[in-house]
């Protein structure tokens, strides 16, 4: 089984994020593998262990993303590919990312492609489905269970809290939802082995992509942190007065009734 996992390096949202001049400050920020992509990596490793084959993790970005690829290799992936867009593109959007990934994947004869359901930074959830669309293969998003029997794949997917059971055929692209599995952390032997595993670096030229063809189709107008939560207000006095005041405030201040 030829398995690919699409991985994104993201900010660790558990750490403090600083926004200055409309951009997130990279200095001092912690970077991680997008947590939803970790489910995808774990699932890929489990499928490979059960069915045989090879897991290749792929990411787009700069050289810094090597670290996340090494972590994926230490978890158990066999190969890693960094498509380095640092010199060619200032900005990537979902269109550019999907286009580049699809160009890379088109002749790889992938049986199964996994990705995270969304990245916790951009949160668009578009790249996976767009790649499948460009490759002309089926896709299923937000999966919580994956069973492969020959060419047939039985999937449970999360539908806003409910479960939907589907059957599909390989080749297939799926995106992982929380609950799919419990991602392992890299073991020490895993880290040692990862040092010797191949990490290939490609540029747009290597994929015969003209940078004009992958220019972002969207522009980011502004980035800002959510407004700070202000302290709540506790009403006082008789219960009936409090109710009156509450209704009046909901009407005049909150403007919801």
């Amino acid at each position: 089984m030829n398995i690919f996992v699409l991985v994104k390096r993201t900010f660790d949202t558990e750490e403090k994020i600083v926004v200055t001049g409309g951009a997130i400050q990279e200095d001092g920020a912690e970077f991680i593998i997008n947590p939803y992509d970790e489910y995808a990596i774990e699932e890929a490793i489990q499928v490979r262990d059960a069915q045989g084959g090879e897991v290749t993790v792929v990411t787009l970005g700069g050289e810094d993303a090597e670290k996340q690829l090494r972590t994926a290799l230490a978890m158990g992936a066999d190969k890693a590919v960094l498509i380095n867009t640092e010199d060619d593109l200032d900005e990537l959007d979902q269109f550019s990312a999907a286009y580049i990934l699809a160009e890379y994947l088109k002749d790889k004869e992938a049986d199964l492609i996994l990705g995270g359901n969304v990245a916790i930074d951009g949160g668009s959830g578009q790249v996976g489905p767009r790649v499948a669309e460009l490759l002309g293969i089926n896709y299923v998003t937000t999966i919580t269970k994956l069973e492969i029997d020959g060419k047939t794949v039985k999937i449970v997917r999360d539908v806003e809290g409910d479960s939907e059971v589907l059957e599909a055929e390989l080749p297939l692209l799926v995106t992982a939802q929380q609950g799919l599995n419990e991602p392992r952390y890299p073991s020490l032997p895993g880290i040692m082995k990862a040092k010797k595993k191949p990490l290939e670096e490609l540029e747009l030229d290597d994929l015969d992509i003209d940078e004009d063809d992958v220019k972002a189709k969207t522009t980011t107008v502004e980035i800002y942190l959510p407004a700070q939560k202000v302290a709540g207000r506790v009403l006082e006095g008789d219960l009936s007065d409090q109710v009156k005041e509450l209704v009046s405030l909901l009407h005049s201040e909150a403007k919801v009734v």
Binding site: R70, T71, Y185, L188, G190, M192, K195
Partner: protein, 389 residues
């Protein structure tokens, strides 16, 4: 002395991975273990399964073949996370005696199983009630009878014997009056605790200020097969000394981990705690001691790195290893004190975890070597002053 870039990156990766394992073991976990004076079995298992305790075992025996620098980072991160390496650090380095002085057969028989955790060797029986650091005067004897040694004596403050399958035991095989130097005539035996307990060995737990699973051993006519002798008979004291520098560096690292944990807690609390309409961290009386403790930890870290590098390069590092232990133990104790003071009354409440770590890090002023003996070592061997004891 800077580490090469690649090594720095690898150490960082190592730190992240140890943190990932430790993250699953919260303050609550360690608090409950402490409250019940229990052994952190699940934590030790997770660490073993992830291969971290086999870091120092060569690859040919199933370990990762790393150096003391890497091992020290692993233990530092455990303590940095709020946990306590004391529960399992000996599984990492006690095997060094077998690795350096054991026969090929012993290495093949024991090291792979120690590497995968199926065999626990994390008890080290040296200290005795009446001799302490005066090791060469120890009273436990082993007399050879045919294929066995018959061992008699008593040991004290031997940690983790109830959580270990094997124990390294230092015994006198030649009476002190028959040797020219007191350091001769001591031997190292590998005792299989699973067979020994109830057959000449009695283990009694010692309840202490902190949770450390330490015990007292009563040995009466314990039979140990001759093939369990490590190295040559009579040369055991040197074998034990060989492991000391590694231990000093690793304990220093645990202190540095503790120190960093304390500084983080103290800083966060001081910034959050508002009294008289301002955070207490704005008071120099609070801020400066935290800053000073931090500085001392960073300095101790440099000595630790230096000692570990010398060790890994196979160079003499006795002075540096001992100095790093003293600096780090002093720094972590200072940080502990400052953090307790910063927290005021809350520092004494178990749910803040400060008192637990405070008790744990206090140990390192005394064990595995008392700070005074480091001073006497440096005075005598580095500064060439007269032996002070």
């Amino acid at each position: 002395m800077l580490l090469a870039d690649e090594k720095v990156a690898f150490l960082e990766e190592l730190r992240q991975s140890v943190r990932a394992v430790c993250k699953a073991f919260s303050d609550t976990y360690w608090r409950e273990i402490d409250e019940h004076q229990a052994y952190p079995t699940e934590f030790v298992k997770a660490l073993t399964d992830a291969g971290f305790l086999a870091a120092l075992i060569p690859e040919e025996y199933g370990g990762s073949g790393l150096g003391i620098t890497e091992a020290s980072v692993i233990l530092e991160e455990i303590n940095r996370s709020g946990g306590n390496s004391g529960a399992c650090h000996a599984q990492m380095y006690t095997m060094g005696t077998i690795l350096r002085h054991g026969s090929d057969n012993q290495k093949r028989m024991y090291l792979p199983k120690i590497a995968d955790g199926s065999l626990r060797l994390q008890a080290f029986g040296v200290t005795e009630p009446n001799t302490g650091t005066d090791t060469t005067n120890l009273k436990t004897t082993a007399v050879r009878q045919g294929d066995h040694y018959i061992v008699n004596g008593q040991k004290v403050f031997i940690s983790r014997t109830e959580h270990s399958d094997l124990m390294i035991l230092l015994v006198r095989t030649t009476p002190v009056e028959q040797v020219t130097k007191k350091s001769e005539g001591l031997s190292v035996l590998l005792v299989d605790l699973r067979e020994a307990v109830g057959n000449g060995l009695e283990i009694r737990p010692i309840k202490t200020m902190m949770n450390h699973s330490t015990t007292e051993l009563f040995i009466e006519n314990l039979k140990v097969p001759v093939e369990n002798l490590i190295g040559e008979e009579g040369k055991g004291f040197r074998y034990i000394l060989d492991g000391m520098n590694a231990e000093r560096i690793l304990i220093a690292s645990e202190c540095i981990g503790d120190g960093r944990w304390f500084i983080e807690r103290a800083t966060n609390y001081a910034n959050d705690r508002v009294i008289f309409n301002r955070p207490i961290s704005q008071n120099q009386g609070i801020q400066f001691p935290i800053a000073r403790a931090f500085i001392n930890i960073e300095a101790a870290d440099l000595m630790r790195v230096k000692a570990a590098q010398l060790f890994d390069e196979g160079k003499s590092c006795g002075a540096e290893a001992n100095m790093s232990k003293l600096l780090a133990a002093d720094a972590s104790w200072e940080a502990a004190n400052v953090t307790l003071q910063t927290h005021g009354g809350y520092g004494f409440a178990t749910e803040y975890d400060i008192e637990r770590k405070f008790k744990e890090t206090r140990l390192y002023q005394v064990a595995p070597i008392s700070t005074n003996l480091i001073l006497s070592f440096v005075g005598e061997h580095v500064l060439k002053m007269p032996k002070s004891y």
